[in-house]
């Protein structure tokens, strides 16, 4: 029985069946024959498969986004029941740099990171360097993610790196960047730790960093 529910949860997610996934999540809530943590792990496993399918070119952005939305709804039902709360893999601070009001890539990253077990502090869009530095100071994340779609705003990333250095925080946090305007070459010159060509690659990188 418990295996059936977990299988339904996973297969519904992988078939992009929102109703099926929510029905399974409700069963977990109501019957309590499966530990919520097991159900959350099943969601996380399913999203890993989704991520692989995307990276291998088998699935496309619409499928990645919709799977993420299903996971978000399912987690909305399951997370309140977790005793220790979600986010056991560590804290990540994320935002889109100042002058940039695009958040699709950032939000996909956040959705998958939360479902994978990270605690995510979302600073939103148009975030200035000072706010990034303060968030690192206040939350002590192991990773800071910055998104940037516009070439005109990529200089903001360099500014954040410099300000973190000045605040003595650069060595305490790993920095990952992503977005249409950015390249591996830019990441090297900006002095960040990693560039992610897409949200799923970003999740793989922070998962490696956290040892999760």
């Amino acid at each position: 029985m418990s295996g059936d529910v977990l299988n339904q949860l996973k297969s519904s997610l992988l078939e992009l069946d929102m109703e099926g996934a929510l029905a399974a999540a409700r069963m977990v809530r109501e019957d309590r024959q499966v530990a919520v943590e097991e159900a959350v792990a099943a969601v996380s496993e399913a999203l890993k498969v989704v991520g692989s399918r995307f990276q291998e070119g088998e699935w496309f952005l619409t499928e990645l986004v919709y799977a993420g939305e299903i996971a978000k709804e399912v987690m909305g039902l399951l997370s309140p029941l977790m005793e220790t709360g979600a986010g056991g893999l560590g804290t990540v601070v994320v935002g889109t740099v100042a002058g940039d009001l695009h958040d699709l890539g950032k939000n996909i990253f956040i959705n998958y990171a939360r479902s994978a077990g990270f605690k995510v502090i979302d600073l939103g869009m148009d975030v200035n360097a000072n706010s990034f530095v303060n968030a690192v100071k206040e939350n002590s994340p192991f990773a800071l993610g910055m998104s940037c779609l516009l070439t005109s705003t990529d200089g903001e990333i360099v500014k954040v790196v410099e300000d973190l250095k000045k605040a003595g925080l650069r060595e305490k946090v790993r920095i990952i960047i992503g977005g249409a305007a950015l390249t591996e070459q830019f990441a090297e010159t900006a002095g960040v730790d990693a560039f992610a060509k897409d949200a799923i690659t970003g999740i793989d990188i922070i998962r490696n960093w956290s040892g999760g």
Partner: protein, 391 residues
């Protein structure tokens, strides 16, 4: 051979005297730099009590908008002429200035399709705009929006017709102004409600999505007709179908939702004996065969930062598509050295220039594209682009 003959030869996959060079100039910052004009601090003026009121009033009147927008693209064409381009794109938009507390400057444009464009300040103080979000989150909001905007769509089509025609009449003897029918059917489907919302609709409300696509196709055909009245033999159209690593949607899904619309677009352009060049940002290798199948004559953009390589594209599609592009605007045309620009032009011509069917251009435009580097690009194109090619 003049610029028009050069462009048309390329569009017919013939070798002209040299590879033609097209400009994508549209940003006031670039125009001001090229024409040595003092930038207008539009954002600053908006904040001033009297000027702000006046600008807000004027901007939202059709006659002032038309004049201002025409002036902007007249500047783009003058800049492109001064730099020595053979062609430049011309794009029309109709926006309304609205209070936007979340925006950095407190103001944003709303377009008639239901999109919000963030109003920002370019490096020289000129205004810069970027799409940020949609205004219609639900089916009901979308229905109400398009119903309310019907008179605006009529005004828009009328403005488009006048705008492109006037630019061709005024500048067509000195440059080839290629009208761009934008935004396209795909962008107009999803952007008014945001990508996540639209994605949910695809899975949960397919009939509604079909209604949106049908509506936008019908509107786009009128828009396209209006652009084509300029008399120019080539028309640009487009939709950003790609993201950094591949198409935004499964190609089969794009075919299902938009295939017929794109075929209708290509057919309509061909009925008028014109050529259709499709703009799409992102990584679009998986869609190239679709473009051929839909009847497109060419593609423009092919962003290097999304992994697009002209040589690979040519290898995949041969001469079934004219290629327009694809010099990088993230580094090369912003901070690249003279030698790097020279090498990139040489490579582009080598990869795509043989047998005609190639027009050199940047892959896009934005306020940080440096006019000096545009000059280098043109110089190098003249140096290496002479037919028969020796690169």
């Amino acid at each position: 051979m003049d610029f028009r003959e050069r462009i048309l030869a390329a569009m017919n996959h013939e070798e002209a005297d040299r590879v033609p060079v097209m400009g994508l100039i549209m940003d006031p910052t670039t125009v001001n730099l090229v024409l040595e004009k003092k930038p207008v601090d539009f954002a600053g003026l908006l904040k001033r009590p009297v000027w702000g009121l006046l600008i807000r009033y004027l901007m939202n009147t059709n006659w002032f908008w038309r004049r201002m927008y025409y002036g902007n693209f007249a500047g783009s064409l003058k800049s492109a002429i001064k730099l020595g381009f053979d062609a430049n794109w011309t794009i029309y938009s109709l926006m309304k200035l609205n209070r936007e507390p979340e925006s950095a400057l407190g103001w944003a444009w709303h377009d008639p399709f239901g999109r919000v464009w963030e109003l920002g300040r370019a490096p020289d103080g000129s205004m810069a705009v970027n799409y940020t979000r949609g205004l219609c989150e639900t089916e009901e909001q979308w229905e109400a929006w398009v119903e309310q905007k019907k008179p605006v769509y009529e005004a828009l089509i009328k403005n488009v017709r006048v705008f492109h025609k006037k630019l061709v009449e005024k500048y067509g003897e000195r440059i080839y102004p290629i009208g761009y029918a934008a935004p396209g059917i795909f962008e107009n489907s999803w952007q008014p409600m945001g990508f996540v919302n639209f994605t949910k609709m695809i899975y949960q409300k397919p009939d509604f999505v079909k209604r949106i696509v049908d509506f936008q196709t019908d509107l786009y055909m009128k828009y396209l007709d209006a652009v084509m009245e300029s008399g120019v033999e080539v028309v640009l159209g487009g939709d950003d179908l790609g993201q950094k690593t591949g198409p935004l949607m499964r190609p089969e899904l794009i075919e299902k939702l938009y295939g017929n619309s794109y075929r209708m677009v290509a057919d309509r352009v061909h009925e008028k004996n014109k050529k259709f060049v499709f703009h799409s940002c992102g990584n679009i290798y998986q869609l190239l065969d679709k473009f051929v199948d839909w009847g497109f004559d060419g593609i423009i953009t092919m962003e290097p930062t999304a992994g697009m390589d002209l040589g690979k594209v040519r290898e995949q599609v041969g001469h079934k598509l004219v290629l327009v592009g694809n010099l990088d605007v993230s580094y090369l045309m912003v901070r690249g050295t003279r030698e790097e620009v020279d090498d990139a032009v040489k490579k582009a011509i080598k990869d795509a220039g043989r047998g005609g069917g190639y027009i050199l251009s940047t892959c896009h435009s934005h306020p940080f594209v440096d006019p000096k580097r545009l000059e280098w690009m043109i110089d190098s194109a003249h140096k290496y682009g002479k037919y028969p090619l020796s690169v």
